[in-house]
């Protein structure tokens, strides 16, 4: 059944009836949809350790012995605090940098896989703007966070966004693949997000009117067992708002924990990276297993995203077409 709300579309499927506790992925159950580097030249090499091979980047070591439980007990500062330092209440604190910001800027954004990541300019229902990130999974399909397409908060911004402009491979003011604006029925989500506001279903899609993804290529995606995920390195590239406008940044770390519908990690992120792929490298191929949605919060000193479960995987396959 298709429901039209404010000109956009929410798709109901069997997963809509599923409660969060019912979406556990059975051990060993795995399925993948393949990636494509696209026809254009330029494909980055990959490192053997499950991270991208980027000049000047050697990966961030996981804190020794750090588990989610230990981190919860440590009161770890969030990424912004680590960058700016702890400000006095209400006072800007701009000069101190505590800790190491080892995110690395990607300048070869016209090379696969970097060109599959897109900067998103989102016009909200009230006409104001926000920025996020998305990634191609097919010729016409860009995946992002549900809150980048449907705002849950009350007030004039609640509901479907007016439009999303997709800028793959953006590098500052340079748009190597131009831009495409999506609105109306090209904007998709699932009722688990639009009607229930359940963070396990905070996923959205943009169906482009052109096959721009055939030029950029796309990431594969899959759902995996807990054990497979916990042995994986989470790679994440996106467009953080604390860096120069429209620049792509990459970071990686081992996954910290998984639950039925969420994944938790200490990969550094910042506002603007909602909708980024959280992906693993398998034999040099890249498979998204999550979608970044949230930064750290009090009591939860890790970043997190939606886990691609079988129902979400099936929905993504349907969106891919």
């Amino acid at each position: 059944m298709t429901i039209t709300l404010d000109g956009a579309v929410a798709v109901t499927d069997p997963a809509d009836e599923t409660s969060p506790t019912d979406v556990a992925v059975a051990e060993q159950e795995t399925a993948q949809a393949p990636p494509s580097s696209g026809p254009e030249s330029g494909v980055a090499d990959t490192a053997s350790s499950g991270i991208e091979l980027v000049a000047g980047y050697s990966g961030t070591p996981q804190p020794a012995g750090a588990s989610l439980e230990e981190l919860l007990a440590r009161d770890v500062p969030d990424a912004a605090e680590a960058t700016f330092g702890s400000a006095a209440e209400g006072q800007p604190s701009l000069e101190s940098v505590i800790g190491v910001d080892d995110r690395i800027r990607i300048t070869t954004t016209n090379v696969y896989p970097w060109r599959v990541h897109a900067s998103l300019l989102i016009q909200l229902a009230d006409g104001s703007y926000a920025s996020g990130t998305g990634f191609f999974i097919g010729p016409r399909t860009v995946i992002t966070a549900g809150h980048c397409v449907f705002v849950q908060w009350s007030g004039p911004r609640r509901g479907w966004v007016r439009s999303v402009t997709v800028m793959p491979g953006r590098n500052g003011s340079v748009l190597p693949y131009g831009s495409v604006t999506v609105s109306g029925s090209g904007i998709r989500s699932v009722v688990g997000w639009t009607q229930n506001g359940n963070s396990n279903w905070d996923v959205g899609a943009l169906i482009l009117p052109t096959e721009l993804g055939s030029r950029t290529g796309w990431l594969g995606f899959g759902y995996y067992s807990d054990a497979t995920l916990l042995a994986s390195t989470a790679n994440l590239a996106g467009y953080p708002g604390d860096k120069p406008s429209g620049t792509l940044w990459y970071h990686s770390r081992r996954l910290l924990s998984v639950s039925a519908g969420r994944i938790h990690y200490q990969v550094d992120t910042f506002g603007g990276q909602s909708g980024s792929a959280v992906y693993r490298l398998v034999d040099g191929h890249r498979y998204a297993f999550g979608i970044h949605t949230n930064g750290a919060a009090p009591g939860i000193p890790v970043n997190s995203g939606v886990r691609i479960t079988k129902p979400i995987f099936d929905r993504m396959k349907a969106w891919k077409g």
Binding site: Y129, A130, S131, A145, S154, F270, G272, G295, P298
Partner: protein, 86 residues
């Protein structure tokens, strides 16, 4: 009932458009999205929780700013101004 932090980003007396306004910390989970100020420098951050919000604001050709805003009642609007050093 959710409220909102309504503010203006400015540098001196000049409003700063397309500044990226982000929630660094909040009393509960917040989406990792960047809100953009309008041509008049105005922005609005929804506040679903009671408590302290720390906003970080970046704009090209400006140094960033960081400001804390207390939201005693999440159902109301709270006004603030973010001054960006040049």
């Amino acid at each position: 009932m959710e409220g909102v932090i309504v503010g203006t980003v400015r540098s001196g007396e000049v409003p700063v458009a397309f500044a990226r306004v982000m929630v660094e910390s909040a009393p509960g989970p917040m989406p990792d999205i960047a809100l953009l100020s309008g041509p008049d420098g105005r922005f609005a951050v929804d506040t679903p929780y009671r408590g302290r919000y720390v906003l970080v604001v970046h704009a090209d050709e400006h140094r960033p700013a960081r400001i804390g805003v207390d939201v005693p009642d999440p159902g109301r609007s709270t006004e603030t101004v973010v001054e960006l050093p040049p």
